[in-house]
């Protein structure tokens, strides 16, 4: 066991856990932020996607010891009231079916749009590798494009 000081959604947390415990479980069970989901535990599905700095990472395979002093952002930290442009696009296009993977999909999209504000279909294919078991992919793609308009509109406007 060891003590770690983490910054999650701009809030400080001190946790005393096994150094091998993946960040996902620290976020869920110790910071008690359950919006980040467990899907596979081997970085295949992306349900656990959070941001480490500006990077989207799969938190189920990152040991808490490897986090360092980078800030962590989870779905709960994306906006106060769900009004981040990506969240708004998700609601406008009614993307979720069961909804379980969507926090990860949204976090992956936010990171993509930071890198590529106007992603092409190829960019979306290459970067959006999260699994949606309900297969809401058609709407996810549309929502990424809508969010892109909203994000760039805001930047320009």
């Amino acid at each position: 066991m060891a003590t770690y000081n983490l910054t999650i959604n701009k809030k400080k947390y001190t946790v005393d856990v096994d150094p091998d415990m993946p960040l996902l479980w620290v976020i869920r069970d110790f910071a008690e932020l359950t919006g980040t989901k467990y899907g596979c535990g081997i970085a295949e599905c992306g349900a656990c996607t959070v941001h480490l700095g500006d990077m989207a990472i799969r938190s189920c395979v990152l040991p808490v010891a490897g986090v360092g002093d980078k800030e962590i952002t989870t779905i709960e930290g994306l906006s106060e009231n769900g009004d981040h442009p990506v969240q708004v696009a998700w609601k406008e296009l009614d993307v979720p079916q069961c909804g379980y993977c969507q926090a990860g999909q949204i976090m992956a999209t936010v990171a993509l749009l930071k890198q590529k504000p106007h992603p092409t279909d190829e960019d979306i294919n290459d970067s959006m590798t999260n699994i949606c078991r309900c297969c809401s992919y058609t709407r996810i793609r549309k929502a990424i494009k809508l969010a892109s308009e909203k994000v760039t509109g805001q930047v320009l406007g």
């Binding site: 069970d29 599905c45 979720p96």
Partner: protein
Amino acid sequence: MENRSVNGLKRRDFIKISALTGGGIMLGFSWIGCSSGKGKPVTLNAYIKIDADGKITIMAPNPEDGQGVKTSLPMIVAEELDVDWSQVHIEQAGLDTKKYHRQVAGGSGSVKASWDPFRKAGATARQMMINAAAALWAVSPDKCYTANGMVLLKDSEKKVAYGALTTRAAKMPVPKNITLQNSGTFRLIGKRIPSVDNQAIVTGSYKYGIDTKRKGMLYAAMVRPPAFGQTLKSFNDIEAQKSPGVEKIIRIGDKIAVFGRSIWEVMQGAKKIQAEWQSDVLLESTSDYLNNFKALLIKGPDDDPKRQDGDIKKAFSKPGIRTFEAWYEAPFIAHNCMEPMNFFADVRSDGVELYGPTQNPESICHKTAKLLGIPEDKITVMMTRMGGGFGRRLMFDFVEEAVLASKAVGAPVNLIWTREDDMGGGYYRPMCSYQYKAAVDANNNLIAWHNNSVGVTGNASRPNNFPAGAVPNLQVDAQDYKSPVTTAPWRGPIHNFIAFAEQTFMDEIAHGIKKDPVAFRLELLEQAKKKPVGKVDYDPDRYAAVIQKTAEMAGWGKPKDKGIYQGIGAYYCFDTYITQIAEVLKQDNGKIKIKKIYCAVDCGILINHSGAENEVEGGIIDGIGNALYAEITLTKGKPDQANFNHYRMIKMIEVPEIEVQFIKSNEHPTGLGEPPLPPAGPAVANAVFAATGVRLRTQPFIKSGLFD
């Protein structure tokens, strides 16, 4: 078309009114006398709460697994109640067999079964508001009308909100005669209404079952036999006991429960248990199943056929006929709900609380009562939105584990499966094999059809499937293969594969007799309409209309760009008609890329356009993904795949363009959870044949080498 009165509620029918604390009324609707398919009377219930402050709450009694019923069913009530959707709050109801009917997510049946009772619930409440306003104004009720949660007086400025009428309405008799809204002027039904949980989902605040945490609760992980058919001989938990965060380890039957303070820690603890397993049954591998299935199909069934029209023996021995034969193999596949199985149970001396993701709350209540030997009224069941269901959450096993674990440890427990537990065990879609034979006469008429089936399931066939009804000599046989592998319904049970077998076999016959596959199907449907043979489940006209619509959308038969080919899958199940035409590109390297799916749907009256379209698009992609990639193989009873690194799931890059159209209809609405999936596989396979001349007869298609 409707605007009809609903009269004649029998004397035993009743509508309960109870005053809520702080004013307001709750209407509980119970119709006895609506008949089920078997002619037995069933009780149908719904709940509406109207607070004195005007807040309107509509209960959503059905389990939500992403199919959209938490939104679409309350829409039906809101339409009839004549309230503005933005005024309405939706509340998930727990299991209550006295108040509600059919609280199950299965068989694509929620919308179909709820349409009439939910409409009547809304319309009765609306009439009560009218009657209360009429009494208030001392006028006849027919001088009053409603709009957006208000009662208004004709030719006057007078109006009153529902909330202000509740106290008065609660004291008045419940109206016997009610008027339903005219389906031609629906304001809400048929519109695009976003899911009521979207805000909670996109902010991460929605609490799924896996997120359940209570005071004094322990997490539990379970060590289970690694192969189907094994039992626990002995185990050593010395290392596991020392594992951080592990508080207790208890053997429960052939499983070992590990309890602790956090999910990861109990999962780690479970990994450290050294168990010895034994088996007194034969542990079979995939090749054993395939060989045994084939032998059984050749031998033929001992039981009577599932369906028999005419005489296939005679028909197949007629001179001058041409015969077709093909064999198909369906692998075991996993449900792979994104939210792994989990359940919360608190077994106390005074009762049991069950809380979590289930498609089947009534059944888990019943089974828990039996398991613990307690009455059902000592058990409460509350459903969370499920992170996927697909049939897996119709099962009791994971609830049973949570119940037994809570009882054994004497504390509330949230029992959580790892992905490996979930994919590498539990329940699968049954493995099945099929032999199809058909005969056409000298005039190219389909005169005989034989479906010979076997699988790890009671009935691997769907005997009344088209072309049954259109063929004079038809026989369907099915054999059950006993296996320790536990199988469960999987989105469109049996349909999910048999659609592929039937629709590609039909394509094979059409090509064999040089008939256009669309025209061939339409001719058979015409046959079923004019000269039906035996029982005909489907409406040939509706079936044909959906095929024609899809063909029109896809430009079927018209010249296409170089390398573009099309194939059709036209299927009917759970009272819904869906046709899909797949458009594929044969690339220069010979590999196939799926470019587009055209799809027309007849599900009767469309309730929520947005939810329905989402369900259809998802079902198509799910159908393609599973046909292309999905397979669980077994080596001596042990699954060879246990996580997504060895079990391919369809991802964004493989998803084709999809175009969906719904047939405008006034027919009774039907479900969409399952019907969109089955036609996708055959549509793709038939397009592959058009492009390459290769007939796909087993899944997953990826094994053909034709896909990347």
